[in-house]
């Protein structure tokens, strides 16, 4: 199961047939395992990594440090949920250190993001302060390097 997940994590398009070959398993067994993993939400979804800049789309993005006060009974979860329900929030993490939540926000322009922070995020009850870091350049995301890497040439034939 672990190996099936590893393969799919790298290549969501790997078919049960190919995975079965790679792992010397039966194709049916692989198919069933994947279905079970989807049902139990171990596999959350299959999606594509897109480099939007390459596609000619201008996108603004920011990492926002959010200081909040936890609430009795629910800790940070209630305020985190309030925030992650906004579609603008691409990722929301509770972190240790000098602030509490790290929120990644994506918008069409920097103005969109500023507006989101000043009108939606900062005024929320329980939010004490925010620090916004606009993303200047993306080098690597989720383990994938986004820059075009120089193709390494191997000798086409060697013995």
């Amino acid at each position: 199961m672990r190996e099936i997940l590893e393969i799919l994590e790298k290549d969501a398009r790997a078919t049960p047939k190919v995975i079965a070959m790679m792992l010397a398993l039966a194709e049916d067994e692989v198919r069933r395992t994947i279905e079970d993993l989807e049902k139990s939400k171990v596999i959350v979804k299959f999606k594509t990594v897109v480099n939007w800049e390459k596609a000619g789309e201008e996108l603004a993005s920011a990492l926002i440090e959010v200081k909040v006060s936890p609430q009795r009974g629910v800790g940070f979860d209630a305020i985190a949920e309030r925030i992650y329900r906004f579609p603008e929030a691409r990722s929301v993490y509770l972190v240790s250190g000098t602030y509490d939540l790290q929120v990644q926000v994506v918008g069409k322009t920097m103005k969109d993001i500023s507006r989101f922070v000043t009108e939606k995020l900062a005024p929320l009850e329980g939010v004490h302060g925010t620090v916004t870091h606009f993303l200047l350049k993306r080098y690597k995301e989720d383990g994938d390097i986004l820059e075009d890497e120089e193709e390494v040439k191997r000798l086409p034939l060697s013995l």
């Binding site: 190919v18 070959m21 790679m22 792992l23 390494v152 191997r154 086409p156 034939l157 060697s158 013995l159």
Partner: protein, 403 residues
């Protein structure tokens, strides 16, 4: 400039035959023709490569860069960095339980290529015979001939999964036999000889007083079985020259580092040659190798896992296409039979390249017993492997219809 060249050429015509008989006796590489063809074509998927498609793990490269920044740019001691030899001694002891003294029994070389050359030159007298199982890595017989040995081949075949047996070796031992040269996991077949058979070969070596040169460069690239280090077998430590390297396991072909491990008297003789012809292995490569041994295990495991998956895909693929392929247990080569197509291995390789732009190496490049087979290296992306399989399927299908 052209005038000088012109005069050089006219002088040439008067020159006597200058190339040594020994060099002339080495057959030209069987793939030169393909190489030229390949270089002139676009869109080729090459399964003809003999090195990893991974680049050297970043921590190794980074460590080497750092060592250069600190100024490690000079010769090392002739035998190689002592830290590297010590680390290597620990590594061999940990993996295979073989003990070598880093001071006297280990030598860092310019790849297994150099280690092989100096091992042969250290032990061969003119006319000595050396027994080499076949199909074989091409450098074995060439290096043996250059060292002045006569090569006695032991053909192996599909019938025995290209494994060599002790009996087949012993049948070829004569008064002049000096050594056996083994290379398992094997290039080009991917065969791995069983521990039991290796023990039997070790007995032959003892009984007939032979040296065994064991090229174990693919020791880490082994799938679902365990590697047996030849010098770890009972009774043969003192007659084994163990060759190993970094090129394959750590994806470090370009760094040019490898090693030889042997009893002190043999190693001393190899050292003599090495210090005069090489001085030492590249310093940057040795530093990189040190880092590889210290912190490279995880990367090795990851690459091996990846090769293993590709291996299963390519072998399955060949068998489905109707090119029967035995299961290679090591290295990164599959060696399918192409006999069902009715073509020779050269015809197959050439036509496949021209019609479908897939490069494979004809089995005969590795000796006559490679006939009817082609070597396909699966150290390339799964995407390439799958595309190559589609093309080969189409190619073979067309032949079947024509028949």
């Amino acid at each position: 400039m052209s005038a000088i060249r012109y005069s050089a050429r006219t002088a040439n015509e008067k020159r006597r035959d200058i190339i040594s008989e020994r060099v002339k006796s080495i057959p030209p590489s069987g793939i030169r023709k393909f190489f030229d063809l390949l270089n002139s074509m676009d869109g080729v998927i090459s399964l003809g490569i003999g090195e990893p498609d991974f680049t050297t793990p970043w921590h190794i490269r980074e460590y080497a860069i750092y060592s250069m920044e600190r100024g490690h740019t000079m010769y090392t001691s002739n035998a190689g960095l002592i830290e590297l030899r010590q680390e290597l001694a620990r590594h061999l002891s940990r993996l295979y339980g073989v003990e070598y003294d880093p001071q006297k029994e280990l030598l860092i070389t310019v790849g297994v290529s150099e280690a092989l050359d100096i091992a042969l030159r250290a032990i061969i007298n003119p006319g000595d015979e050396i027994i080499i199982p076949e199909p074989t890595y091409v450098a074995y017989s060439a290096s043996a001939i250059l060292a002045g040995a006569s090569v006695v081949s032991v053909p192996t075949s599909r019938a025995n999964d290209f494994n060599v047996t002790a009996a087949e070796i012993e049948a070829r031992v004569t008064d002049r036999t000096k050594a056996i040269l083994l290379g398992y996991p094997n290039n080009p077949t991917g065969a791995v000889v069983s521990r039991q058979e290796l023990i039997a070969i070790a007995e032959v070596a003892q009984r007939r007083d032979l040296i065994v040169i064991s090229d174990e460069i693919y020791d880490r690239l082994i799938y679902d079985v365990e590697h047996t280090c030849f010098s770890s077998l009972p009774g043969v430590w003192d007659r084994t020259i163990l060759l190993g390297g970094f090129s394959k396991a750590y994806a470090m072909t370009g760094w040019r580092v490898g090693y030889a491990a042997a009893p002190a008297d043999i190693l001393e003789a190899m050292f003599k040659i090495h210090q005069y012809v090489m001085m030492c292995a590249p310093t940057g490569g040795q530093r990189a190798a040190l880092e590889a041994l210290r912190n490279g295990e995880e990367a090795v495991q990851e690459m091996v896992q990846e090769y293993n998956r590709r291996r299963r895909v390519i072998c399955n693929g060949f068998n489905e296409i109707g090119l029967s392929c035995f299961e290679p247990k090591g290295a990164f080569y599959a060696f399918p039979s192409i006999e069902s197509t009715g073509m020779t291995s050269e015809e197959f390789a050439e036509a496949l390249l021209m019609e479908e732009k897939v490069a494979v190496v004809p089995g005969t490049a590795f000796g006559a017993s490679g006939a009817g087979h082609v070597r396909c290296c699966y150290a390339t992306s799964l995407r390439n492997i799958n595309e190559a399989l589609v093309r080969i399927d189409r190619f073979v299908g067309k032949r079947a219809k024509d028949k």
